[in-house]
Symmetry: C2
Subunit: 159 residues, 2 copies
C-alpha cells in the first residue's frame, strides 16, 4: 500500500467537510487537475483508507437516548459476547478494551423504555456478561469524525 502523502490528506480533508464535493472543485481548490484528484481518490478507496458515507443525526431520527455501556465478561467468553452484541441493531459500536471494562459498546434507543428493555431483556440473556455499567449521554460537546487531524495537515502546509 502506497504511503499517504500530503496531497492525499488535503483531498481527504475537503471531503470530510462535504463528501460530495465534485472532483473538479477539489482540483480547482488544490490547483491540480481533475484526473489527479480522481486517481488519488480511487487509489485511496482501493486501499481502504476511506469510504463515502453519510452521517445522520440520531436525534433527528428519533434516537434520543444515547448510551455508552461498559461491560465485564467471564474469562474466555469475551469474544463470543462481543460478537453477539455486534448483531444487535441498537448497538453501533463494540470494542474490546484494556482497563476497567473488558468491552465498551455504544447503543442508541428511541426511548428510555427501550433502553431498560435492552438491558433487562437483551443483555441479561447473553451468557458471559458479568456486569454492565450504563452511562447515559446528557450532552454532546464534540463528535468530529475527522481522523485527518487538522494539526497534521497544517504542519505540512509549509513543506
Amino acid at each position: 500500500m502506497k504511503r499517504i502523502d500530503h496531497l492525499d490528506r488535503q483531498i481527504l480533508q475537503i471531503l470530510q467537510d462535504d463528501g460530495r464535493t465534485p472532483y473538479t472543485e477539489i482540483a480547482h481548490q488544490l490547483k491540480i487537475s481533475e484526473g489527479t484528484v480522481r486517481s488519488r481518490i480511487s487509489r485511496l478507496l482501493h486501499d481502504g483508507v476511506f469510504e463515502f458515507v453519510i452521517r445522520t443525526d440520531p436525534v433527528k431520527l428519533g434516537l434520543n437516548v444515547q448510551t455508552i455501556i461498559g461491560l465485564n465478561t467471564k474469562l474466555g467468553l469475551q469474544q463470543q459476547v462481543a460478537e453477539e452484541l455486534s448483531q444487535l441493531p441498537e448497538v453501533r459500536f463494540v470494542g474490546a478494551f484494556s482497563g476497567k471494562h473488558d468491552l465498551i459498546i455504544q447503543a442508541f434507543f428511541y426511548s428510555n423504555t427501550e433502553l431498560i428493555h435492552f438491558v433487562n431483556e437483551r443483555l441479561s440473556r447473553i451468557e458471559g456478561i458479568l456486569g454492565a455499567d450504563v452511562s447515559l449521554e446528557l450532552r454532546q460537546y464534540k463528535d468530529s469524525f475527522s481522523y485527518v487531524r487538522e494539526d497534521e495537515v497544517a504542519i505540512n502546509e509549509k513543506g
Copy 2:
C-alpha cells in the same frame, strides 16, 4: 421540520452504504424519479438530518492507538473541562454522561508515547479534572455508523 418518512429512510439507507451513489441510481432502485430523490435529499440536508462525509480508517492514517477515557470533574467545572477537551485535535468525541464518569471522551494517537504525553501533560494541566480512567482499544468488533437502523426500514417495507 417535516416528518421523515419511509422513502426518506430508504434513501438514507442507500447513501449510508455509498455516499456517492448517483441520484439517478437511487431513483432507479426505488422506482421513483431522479427529481424526487433530489428534492428529498435537499430537504433532508436543509433540515440537518444528514450530511455527506467520508469515513476514514484511523489505522490506515497511522492512528494506531485508540482510547476511550472516562473522566471525573470537580463540581461546577464540568462544562469548562468539556470545552477545553473539545479543542484538542487528538480528541474526536466528548460527551457528558450520567454514570460512573461525568465525561467520556474518545481520543486517537499515533503512538503510545503520544498517549502518555497526552495524559501526563495535557490532561493534567486542565483544571477541574479529578481523575481519568484510560481504556485502550485492543480490538474493534463493530463500528456501524448507520443510525438508520435496518430493522426500522424493514418493518415498514410491507407498508
